[in-house]
Amino acid sequence: MGLDFTESEFMICQCARLMEDGKIVFIGYGMPQVAAILAQRLHAPRMVQVYEFGAVGSLPETPFVRFTMGGPRNCYRSLAWTNMNTIFAQAQLGMVDLGVLGATQIDRFGNVNSTMLGADYKHPEKRFPGSGGANEVLTQCWRTVIVIRHERRRFVKKVDFVTSPGYLDGSREARERAGIPRGTGPWRVVTSKALYGFDDHSRQMTLLGVLRGLTIDDVLKGMEFTPLVGEKVEQLEPPTQEELRILREEIDPARAIIGETARD
């Protein structure tokens, strides 16, 4: 990666670019929060952010403060303050267009692990916090974006634990058969090097774009499985000067989420 921007900045910008104006978007903790503020300042002023503790349509105050989520700065000027049962019910009702989540591990069908590593659940090699609200988001939102660092240990053939459901075994209508709402599922995977979607038929992860300057091989090397490669793989633009200015000057001057560039 070049010296001009951090991996986190690129992931945040990609994520923000996928957030459409006028949509209702479920925002996860950390990077998705920063991406949502960026999107609102650039192209999506009418996007409605919703949070699992019930804030609807907030216009977060900046600078972004580390740890803040349910507090006054992040919930500033909301349209409504509800609670967890209400907001997850609204997601279950089909009101949430997009969800944005982080993850520890992902497999070719978009199944997500944020619970544990190791072959034996009873004796995990490494235990993580678990679902939080991720299972609800990936189950109920019409589309879900998963944000994950581009590392081989994260893009695995089979996740050690399915915390939140992707397209399961990839078979036709696997989600619907299990009782999961029809027409939902992982939509995009955003990494520090690439962008993926999912094939409509085989439900396999499909490479859609690579960061300008990288080759497809550069990207595939960082994965344990080989994804499908789209007919036309897009060159993903690095963060623009304007995106970086807003991130560094307005949203996260303390660089708690965006991180430091090597040049600093």
């Binding site: 303050w81 619970t115 679902s131 189950t139």
Partner: protein, 323 residues
């Protein structure tokens, strides 16, 4: 209804009629002054082996001082509902208070992860949403509620949920069992001496937690008159008869914030994060902030200090909506 799949996680269910009988005999209908010192509230209502639930977040409007008092009184074998208890679940584990955790979000820091890896603590998997839905079921006095979450995941396998064929649509649906905590802990902005309480801002489930719990302890930033409560009843979040104890605990959310009153203490959280992966540092943290002070008042006086309190109040510049 055929059970298509049953999770293997440990959990307990309450007989709804036993619960009703408890509510009939144990929850006082008369308005009595329930204000008591924090130590007394915990001594009276939190027993070894209890199931404890907390609303809403370590960062915002969480009953942090009540958790510290539970640790100070060295309760043991508790089972804890962990959702936004990013810090408290780790403190309770490090202090040896817990037997098990219902996981929405386990907690931050490597120490709690290590306790699970080494089998020192039991966990049952849920999600933030389904654990909160279990509180709603508990609050409604029904044994379970249906959910379209959890399905087709390992989270479900290691939860206590069951998948059944919905008798109305024929489709698979998850049923999550009610939870009726022995003790619910809720921090509120204001309440009267009887427990009529107001929470401002968004939250997880203050009312569901108070309704579902057999005993509810509230800690409050401010005590107001019942006349004030009656003037604006639409502001009441929790009616008094659900509440067993009222603890006057200004700054009771620290190091978290109370919306519109004081901001969270970011420096303290960074200190906690540094301690949360290291046993000696965590032991020192527990000693410094909990065991070496006798009460919340002494914590404020000796471990936080007036200058910090005033600064955190000053930082709470956003007031709108929180009164």
């Amino acid at each position: 209804m055929d059970v298509l799949q049953a999770g293997v996680g440990e959990f307990t269910v309450e007989d709804p009629d036993d619960l009703r009988a408890f509510m009939r005999t144990e929850k006082r209908r008369e308005m009595v002054d329930k204000v008591m010192p924090e130590a007394e509230a915990v001594r009276r209502y939190v027993k070894d082996g209890d199931y404890i639930s907390f609303d809403f977040s370590s960062f915002t409007r969480g009953p942090a001082s009540l958790i510290r008092e539970i640790i100070r009184q060295r309760r043991q074998n508790l089972w804890f509902a962990a959702k936004f208890t990013l810090m408290e679940s780790t403190l309770l584990v490090a202090a040896g208070c817990l037997r098990g955790i219902d996981v929405g979000f386990l907690g931050l820091g490597n120490l709690i992860g290590k306790a699970v890896e080494e089998g020192r603590i039991k966990v049952t998997e849920w999600t933030n949403g389904t654990l909160t839905l279990r509180h709603l079921a508990g609050a409604m006095g029904v044994p379970f509620l249906p959910s379209r979450n959890l399905l087709a995941t390992d989270t479900l396998t290691y939860s206590g949920a069951k998948v059944v064929q919905d008798p109305f649509t024929g489709r698979p649906i998850a049923l999550v069992p009610a939870v009726n905590p022995d003790v619910g802990l809720v921090h509120v902005h204001q309440c009267d001496i009887y427990g009529n309480a107001r929470c401002f801002g968004p939250g997880v489930s203050p009312l569901e937690t108070a309704m579902a719990s057999k005993r509810t302890i509230i800690s409050t930033e401010e005590i107001i008159t019942t006349d004030d409560i009656r003037k604006e009843p639409s502001k009441t979040t929790i009616p008094y008869y659900l509440v067993d104890a009222v603890v006057y605990a200004p700054f009771g959310c620290l190091p978290g914030g109370a919306q519109g009153v004081y901001e969270m203490d970011t420096e303290h959280f960074l200190e906690y994060m540094a301690a949360s992966g290291d046993e000696p540092k965590m032991a020192a943290y527990l000693e410094k902030y909990i065991y070496s002070v006798a009460s919340h008042e002494e914590f404020l006086e000796k471990r936080v200090g007036v200058a910090k309190l005033l600064d955190l109040k000053r930082q709470a510049t956003i007031k709108e909506g929180y009164h």
